[in-house]
């Protein structure tokens, strides 16, 4: 470490220490403070009440909803994204690749608000796909349809990044292994199931966990498409602050969300370390 290195590293470290570590430490402290009505911040003394109240069924339900919908969306994103990712990774033709890459990167750069609005206009009550609700037995104007819309909105949001991550996975599997199996007489679907899929499993699992983490920490999708019927923990946290100004309670929810996100990332790191040696570099 020279002076130059110190000078270059200092601004970033100051930003991280001042604007990430300090606020989150302060929030952690506030989460153990009692709630005093009518002000931002918290009262004096220490309490566990903010955490204890989250165990109540009314609050636990928000966590359950968040995880349940996040899980369903992640599974569906993997199921729908895998064929597209595989095609993009394996295609010899540049136009095919450029079209798929262009679509996915364009969606990545496209405003989430614009995407959610488009979903609402397409699958909502006036949209051309409004019949979908009747098709699955959840009428488009019923409260239950809010969950369907949140599902569709989240799926639209995560599908492009999930597919891009999986393209990387398939690119790192040597096509020679597939060719070898095929030349030994295996039909194409058996090559996919017996050769490609097992080799892709670590990458697909990693994608699943990242997508799941993105889903459960999303705020905007349930805010706009949830119609107040579907609320994620993120929305609960906002409500605790915006509607009842209960800062300590919001802080406790925030700490739990950090722990959940951290736990997921830790599990992901363990998974990658365990499965990585078996992965074939491309």
């Amino acid at each position: 470490m020279s002076t130059l290195h110190g000078v270059l590293l200092a601004p970033g470290l100051l930003i991280l220490a001042g604007l990430v570590v300090a606020p989150i430490t302060l929030m952690a402290i506030d989460s153990f403070r009692p709630f005093v009505g009518g002000r931002i911040g918290a009262g004096a003394g220490w309490t566990l009440a903010n955490y204890v109240e989250l165990i109540a069924p009314a609050y636990a339900y928000y966590f359950w909803d968040t995880f349940r919908i996040g899980f369903l969306v992640s599974i569906t994103a993997l199921f729908l994204g895998t064929p597209l990712a595989w095609r993009a990774a394996r295609s010899e033709r540049r136009p095919v690749r450029v079209c798929i890459f262009g679509l996915l990167i364009g969606l990545l750069f496209m405003s989430l608000i614009a995407k959610l609005y488009a979903v609402q206009m397409t699958w909502g009550p006036t949209g051309p796909f409004a019949f979908f609700g009747a098709l699955i037995g959840v009428p488009v104007r019923s409260p239950g349809y809010a969950e369907v819309q949140v599902f569709i909105g989240l799926l639209h949001f995560v599908l492009a990044p999930a597919t891009l991550m999986m393209i990387g996975t398939f690119q790192n599997i040597s096509p020679r292994l597939e060719e070898a199996a095929a030349s030994l007489g295996a039909p194409r679907w058996r090559v996919a199931v017996d050769v490609t899929l097992p080799l892709a499993t670590p990458g697909l699992l990693a994608t699943f966990m990242i997508v799941f983490a993105v889903c459960i920490s999303n705020f905007l999708v349930p805010l706009i498409l949830g119609r107040g019927v579907v609320l994620f923990t993120t929305n609960l946290m906002y409500t605790r602050f915006a509607d009842v100004a209960n800062y300590p309670s919001g802080a406790a929810i925030g700490i739990i969300m950090i722990l959940v996100a951290g736990g997921l990332m830790y599990a992901l790191a363990l998974l990658v370390r365990r499965l990585a040696p078996g992965e074939t570099g491309g």
Binding site: L4, H5, L8, P11, I15, L19, V20, V21, A22, P23, I24, L26, M27, I40, G41, L80, G81, L84, W86, R94, R97, V98, F101, L103, I105, G106, L107, M110, S111, I113, A114, K115, Y117, A118, M121, T122, T126, P128, F129, H156, L159, A160, M165, Q171, P187, R188, W189, A192, F219, L220, L223, I224, M237, F241, Y247, A251, G254, I258, A261, M265
Partner: protein, 279 residues
């Protein structure tokens, strides 16, 4: 043997058709809503009616330009995105240089620290920033917003610069120093130009991210300083109105332009191939 081969051909064909069907469904799922929103943005009706519209006009684009709330929001959003991108690009790229070039104890933890805002839910960043700003007596909304936006964008500038610094560039800088250049000279003449693509890519991502941000901004705006996304979200929650469709179409066009520029300059194959978006 012959019937077995036929069965195999049939199985291959069915599996191929199924994969193709899934690909078509996925692409339609992604593209159709954007097309619907595009068409609706030209709807001549005053209300949101059944799709498709019968008459077309530019009324919703006019309505956007005549809405001072949106225009003020647009100005705030652009100023904020430019400021946040500038700060996080300079600070993030500088830190990435050190992280890529040096090996020391605790280096891994510092790198984790720089990437950590990516793993903290953005709502938590906004919430904690509000409490912190209040405790630090920062009551100006624009300053608060800038603080929040720098935090959420810095992992992306660090990550993109780090990705462009892999390979043999360390030895190039060392070669320059061994030939008599000062470390500063080597940094400015060798390291900085080599990392240019990564720095630009990081800055682009930071700008897009900041411009579209809601979860952090919703805590940090006040009645006088609103960003465009916050104004749009308020509109979408209150009364659904096709002005948002017009704005969405503009946003979509910008995304398309970015992709075309990316393909013309770097080539989409290279962008994906480098694994810039992974993880």
């Amino acid at each position: 043997m012959r019937w077995q081969r036929r069965w195999q051909a049939f199985g291959d064909g069915a599996a191929g058709a199924l994969v193709l069907l899934l690909i078509i469904v996925t692409v339609l799922f992604l593209v159709l809503p954007i097309g619907v929103s595009f068409i609706l943005s030209f709807d001549d009706r005053e209300f949101i009616g059944a799709f498709p519209p019968e008459k077309f006009s530019l009324r919703w684009y006019h309505s956007f330009w005549q809405n001072p709330g949106y225009l003020d929001g647009l100005v705030v959003s652009i100023e904020l995105a430019v400021l946040a991108t500038a700060i996080s690009t300079v600070a993030g790229a500088a830190a990435a240089f050190v992280l890529a070039e040096t090996r020391w104890r605790g280096r891994g933890s510092v790198e984790m620290l720089f990437l950590s805002p990516k793993f903290v839910p953005t709502v938590v960043i906004g919430f904690s920033m509000l409490g912190f700003a209040s405790a630090a007596h920062v009551f100006d909304a624009f300053t608060r917003l800038a603080m929040g936006h720098v935090v959420i964008t810095i992992p992306f500038t660090v990550r993109a610069t780090l990705a462009s610094l892999v390979g043999n560039r360390r030895s190039l800088g060392e070669a320059a120093i061994s030939l008599g250049a000062t470390p500063w000279r080597a940094f400015l003449d060798i390291d900085l130009p080599l990392a240019r693509t990564g720095i630009i890519a990081g800055a682009l991502m930071a700008f897009v991210l900041s411009f579209d941000e809601v979860a952090v901004s919703i805590f940090l705006t006040d009645a006088y300083t609103q960003t465009l996304p916050i104004a749009l979200v308020a509109e979408m929650r209150a009364n659904l109105n096709l002005t948002v469709a017009a704005v969405s179409t503009v946003f979509t066009t910008i995304a398309v332009v970015i992709v075309v520029l990316l393909d013309r300059t770097a080539g989409l194959d290279n962008v994906i191939g480098k694994g810039m978006y992974r993880g």
